[in-house]
Symmetry: C2
Protein backbone atom coordinates (compact mmCIF):
# COMPACT_ATOMS: atom_id res chain seq x y z
CA UNK A 1 0.00 0.00 0.00
CA UNK A 2 2.92 2.34 -0.42
CA UNK A 3 1.74 5.54 -1.95
CA UNK A 4 4.76 5.72 -4.21
CA UNK A 5 3.73 2.97 -6.58
CA UNK A 6 1.66 3.40 -9.69
CA UNK A 7 -1.24 1.03 -10.27
CA UNK A 8 -3.93 0.11 -12.73
CA UNK A 9 -7.38 0.25 -11.14
CA UNK A 10 -8.75 -2.30 -13.62
CA UNK A 11 -5.94 -4.76 -12.87
CA UNK A 12 -6.59 -4.44 -9.16
CA UNK A 13 -10.00 -6.02 -9.68
CA UNK A 14 -8.23 -9.36 -9.90
CA UNK A 15 -7.95 -9.07 -6.11
CA UNK A 16 -11.66 -8.36 -5.58
CA UNK A 17 -14.07 -11.27 -5.29
CA UNK A 18 -17.10 -10.08 -3.36
CA UNK A 19 -19.83 -7.82 -4.68
CA UNK A 20 -20.67 -4.58 -2.86
CA UNK A 21 -17.46 -4.69 -0.89
CA UNK A 22 -15.28 -1.73 -1.85
CA UNK A 23 -11.53 -1.92 -1.34
CA UNK A 24 -9.15 1.00 -1.00
CA UNK A 25 -6.77 1.55 -3.92
CA UNK A 26 -5.38 4.96 -2.92
CA UNK A 27 -5.69 7.63 -0.28
CA UNK A 28 -5.13 11.34 -0.76
CA UNK A 29 -6.22 14.53 0.99
CA UNK A 30 -8.50 12.61 3.35
CA UNK A 31 -10.25 10.98 0.41
CA UNK A 32 -10.09 7.38 -0.73
CA UNK A 33 -10.22 5.90 -4.17
CA UNK A 34 -12.14 2.67 -3.69
CA UNK A 35 -12.80 -0.11 -6.16
CA UNK A 36 -15.95 -2.20 -6.10
CA UNK A 37 -17.58 -4.95 -8.11
CA UNK A 38 -21.33 -4.47 -8.12
CA UNK A 39 -24.14 -6.75 -9.22
CA UNK A 40 -27.81 -6.60 -8.31
CA UNK A 41 -29.65 -3.96 -6.28
CA UNK A 42 -28.09 -2.14 -3.36
CA UNK A 43 -29.98 -0.44 -0.53
CA UNK A 44 -31.33 3.08 -0.62
CA UNK A 45 -29.10 5.34 1.40
CA UNK A 46 -27.49 8.76 1.58
CA UNK A 47 -24.33 10.24 3.02
CA UNK A 48 -25.19 13.29 5.08
CA UNK A 49 -21.86 15.08 4.77
CA UNK A 50 -20.07 13.40 1.89
CA UNK A 51 -20.27 13.74 -1.87
CA UNK A 52 -19.62 10.42 -3.60
CA UNK A 53 -18.03 10.05 -7.03
CA UNK A 54 -18.97 7.05 -9.18
CA UNK A 55 -16.68 6.37 -12.15
CA UNK A 56 -17.69 3.30 -14.15
CA UNK A 57 -14.58 1.52 -15.38
CA UNK A 58 -16.25 -1.48 -16.98
CA UNK A 59 -19.92 -2.29 -17.45
CA UNK A 60 -23.12 -0.37 -16.87
CA UNK A 61 -24.56 1.02 -13.67
CA UNK A 62 -27.87 2.63 -12.87
CA UNK A 63 -27.91 5.08 -10.01
CA UNK A 64 -31.50 5.50 -8.94
CA UNK A 65 -32.37 8.82 -7.35
CA UNK A 66 -35.81 9.46 -5.88
CA UNK A 67 -36.89 11.49 -8.91
CA UNK A 68 -34.95 9.89 -11.77
CA UNK A 69 -32.33 7.36 -12.77
CA UNK A 70 -28.79 8.04 -13.98
CA UNK A 71 -27.60 5.44 -16.49
CA UNK A 72 -23.83 5.19 -16.53
CA UNK A 73 -21.77 3.38 -19.13
CA UNK A 74 -18.06 2.58 -19.06
CA UNK A 75 -16.05 5.78 -18.85
CA UNK A 76 -18.86 7.86 -17.36
CA UNK A 77 -18.89 9.71 -14.06
CA UNK A 78 -21.63 10.84 -11.72
CA UNK A 79 -21.24 12.70 -8.45
CA UNK A 80 -23.95 11.97 -5.90
CA UNK A 81 -24.11 15.13 -3.80
CA UNK A 82 -24.18 14.82 -0.03
CA UNK A 83 -27.65 14.23 1.40
CA UNK A 84 -29.11 12.86 -1.84
CA UNK A 85 -30.75 9.44 -1.50
CA UNK A 86 -29.55 6.99 -4.07
CA UNK A 87 -29.53 3.31 -4.89
CA UNK A 88 -26.98 1.70 -7.24
CA UNK A 89 -28.40 -1.07 -9.42
CA UNK A 90 -26.33 -3.27 -11.73
CA UNK A 91 -28.13 -5.71 -13.98
CA UNK A 92 -24.80 -7.35 -14.85
CA UNK A 93 -21.46 -7.16 -13.10
CA UNK A 94 -19.94 -3.70 -13.17
CA UNK A 95 -16.54 -2.44 -12.01
CA UNK A 96 -16.66 0.93 -10.39
CA UNK A 97 -14.20 3.42 -8.95
CA UNK A 98 -15.56 5.43 -6.03
CA UNK A 99 -14.01 8.56 -4.59
CA UNK A 100 -15.22 9.65 -1.19
CA UNK A 101 -13.92 10.71 2.22
CA UNK A 102 -12.00 8.09 4.16
CA UNK A 103 -14.74 8.04 6.81
CA UNK A 104 -17.57 7.25 4.37
CA UNK A 105 -19.58 4.12 5.17
CA UNK A 106 -20.86 2.32 2.09
CA UNK A 107 -24.52 2.30 3.18
CA UNK A 108 -24.42 5.82 4.61
CA UNK A 109 -26.94 6.29 7.42
CA UNK A 110 -28.77 3.06 6.48
CA UNK A 111 -27.88 -0.01 8.53
CA UNK A 112 -28.00 -3.10 6.37
CA UNK A 113 -26.50 -6.51 5.84
CA UNK A 114 -24.31 -4.73 3.29
CA UNK A 115 -22.90 -2.28 5.80
CA UNK A 116 -19.12 -2.60 5.73
CA UNK A 117 -17.45 -2.40 9.12
CA UNK A 118 -13.84 -2.36 8.03
CA UNK A 119 -12.56 -1.60 4.64
CA UNK A 120 -9.30 -3.12 3.45
CA UNK A 121 -6.82 -2.25 0.75
CA UNK A 122 -6.50 -4.04 -2.55
Amino acid sequence: MTKLDKFSPLEKFEGIEEYWSPKIAAEFNGQQMRLAKLKGEFVWHSHEHEDEVFFVLDGELKIELRDRTINLKSGEVFVVPRGVEHRPVAESEVRVMLIEPAETVNTGATQSEWTQKNIGWV
Copy 2:
Protein backbone atom coordinates in the same frame (compact mmCIF):
# COMPACT_ATOMS: atom_id res chain seq x y z
CA MET B 1 -21.81 22.69 -14.39
CA THR B 2 -24.76 21.31 -12.44
CA LYS B 3 -23.56 18.55 -10.22
CA LEU B 4 -26.56 16.41 -11.07
CA ASP B 5 -25.48 15.52 -14.58
CA LYS B 6 -23.38 12.58 -15.55
CA PHE B 7 -20.47 13.09 -17.90
CA SER B 8 -17.73 11.31 -19.79
CA PRO B 9 -14.29 12.70 -18.94
CA LEU B 10 -12.89 11.62 -22.30
CA GLU B 11 -15.69 13.36 -24.20
CA LYS B 12 -15.07 16.55 -22.27
CA PHE B 13 -11.65 16.80 -23.88
CA GLU B 14 -13.40 18.06 -26.99
CA GLY B 15 -13.71 21.33 -25.06
CA ILE B 16 -10.01 21.52 -24.16
CA GLU B 17 -7.58 23.09 -26.62
CA GLU B 18 -4.58 24.30 -24.67
CA TYR B 19 -1.85 22.14 -23.22
CA TRP B 20 -1.03 22.34 -19.48
CA SER B 21 -4.27 24.14 -18.74
CA PRO B 22 -6.46 21.95 -16.52
CA LYS B 23 -10.22 22.47 -16.51
CA ILE B 24 -12.62 21.47 -13.77
CA ALA B 25 -14.98 18.61 -14.58
CA ALA B 26 -16.40 17.98 -11.11
CA GLU B 27 -16.14 19.19 -7.54
CA PHE B 28 -16.70 17.10 -4.42
CA ASN B 29 -15.63 17.28 -0.78
CA GLY B 30 -13.38 20.25 -1.43
CA GLN B 31 -11.58 18.34 -4.19
CA GLN B 32 -11.72 18.91 -7.91
CA MET B 33 -11.56 16.48 -10.76
CA ARG B 34 -9.60 18.35 -13.43
CA LEU B 35 -8.92 17.37 -17.01
CA ALA B 36 -5.75 18.35 -18.82
CA LYS B 37 -4.09 17.79 -22.17
CA LEU B 38 -0.34 17.58 -21.70
CA LYS B 39 2.49 17.61 -24.22
CA GLY B 40 6.14 18.38 -23.63
CA GLU B 41 7.95 19.04 -20.37
CA PHE B 42 6.36 20.84 -17.46
CA VAL B 43 8.21 22.65 -14.66
CA TRP B 44 9.56 21.00 -11.53
CA HIS B 45 7.27 21.80 -8.64
CA SER B 46 5.67 20.45 -5.50
CA HIS B 47 2.46 21.08 -3.57
CA GLU B 48 3.28 21.60 0.07
CA HIS B 49 -0.04 20.51 1.51
CA GLU B 50 -1.78 18.66 -1.27
CA ASP B 51 -1.56 15.13 -2.62
CA GLU B 52 -2.18 15.04 -6.37
CA VAL B 53 -3.74 12.12 -8.23
CA PHE B 54 -2.76 11.53 -11.87
CA PHE B 55 -5.04 9.15 -13.79
CA VAL B 56 -3.98 8.72 -17.42
CA LEU B 57 -7.07 8.38 -19.59
CA ASP B 58 -5.37 8.28 -22.97
CA GLY B 59 -1.70 8.24 -23.88
CA GLU B 60 1.49 7.92 -21.87
CA LEU B 61 2.89 10.17 -19.20
CA LYS B 62 6.19 10.20 -17.38
CA ILE B 63 6.19 11.68 -13.91
CA GLU B 64 9.76 12.49 -13.03
CA LEU B 65 10.61 12.45 -9.34
CA ARG B 66 14.03 13.51 -8.09
CA ASP B 67 15.10 9.89 -7.59
CA ARG B 68 13.21 8.03 -10.30
CA THR B 69 10.62 8.23 -13.04
CA ILE B 70 7.09 6.83 -13.00
CA ASN B 71 5.94 5.72 -16.46
CA LEU B 72 2.17 5.77 -16.72
CA LYS B 73 0.15 4.22 -19.51
CA SER B 74 -3.56 4.62 -20.24
CA GLY B 75 -5.59 3.41 -17.28
CA GLU B 76 -2.81 3.83 -14.75
CA VAL B 77 -2.82 5.98 -11.63
CA PHE B 78 -0.11 7.58 -9.54
CA VAL B 79 -0.53 9.70 -6.45
CA VAL B 80 2.16 12.32 -5.95
CA PRO B 81 2.30 12.81 -2.19
CA ARG B 82 2.34 16.34 -0.80
CA GLY B 83 5.78 17.88 -0.67
CA VAL B 84 7.28 15.60 -3.33
CA GLU B 85 8.94 17.42 -6.21
CA HIS B 86 7.76 16.19 -9.58
CA ARG B 87 7.79 17.08 -13.24
CA PRO B 88 5.25 15.66 -15.72
CA VAL B 89 6.72 14.94 -19.16
CA ALA B 90 4.68 13.83 -22.17
CA GLU B 91 6.50 12.89 -25.36
CA SER B 92 3.20 12.83 -27.22
CA GLU B 93 -0.16 14.30 -26.31
CA VAL B 94 -1.69 12.69 -23.25
CA ARG B 95 -5.09 13.15 -21.66
CA VAL B 96 -5.03 13.13 -17.91
CA MET B 97 -7.52 13.31 -15.06
CA LEU B 98 -6.20 15.05 -11.96
CA ILE B 99 -7.78 14.94 -8.53
CA GLU B 100 -6.60 17.52 -6.04
CA PRO B 101 -7.92 20.10 -3.59
CA ALA B 102 -9.85 23.00 -5.10
CA GLU B 103 -7.14 25.41 -3.96
CA THR B 104 -4.29 23.59 -5.71
CA VAL B 105 -2.26 25.70 -8.14
CA ASN B 106 -0.94 23.73 -11.10
CA THR B 107 2.68 24.75 -10.61
CA GLY B 108 2.57 24.46 -6.81
CA ALA B 109 5.08 26.80 -5.14
CA THR B 110 6.93 27.38 -8.42
CA GLN B 111 6.03 30.58 -10.28
CA SER B 112 6.20 30.00 -14.01
CA GLU B 113 4.72 31.02 -17.32
CA TRP B 114 2.53 27.93 -16.86
CA THR B 115 1.08 29.11 -13.57
CA GLN B 116 -2.69 29.15 -13.92
CA LYS B 117 -4.38 32.09 -12.25
CA ASN B 118 -7.99 31.11 -12.74
CA ILE B 119 -9.24 27.71 -13.58
CA GLY B 120 -12.49 27.31 -15.48
CA TRP B 121 -14.94 24.46 -15.92
CA VAL B 122 -15.22 22.33 -19.00
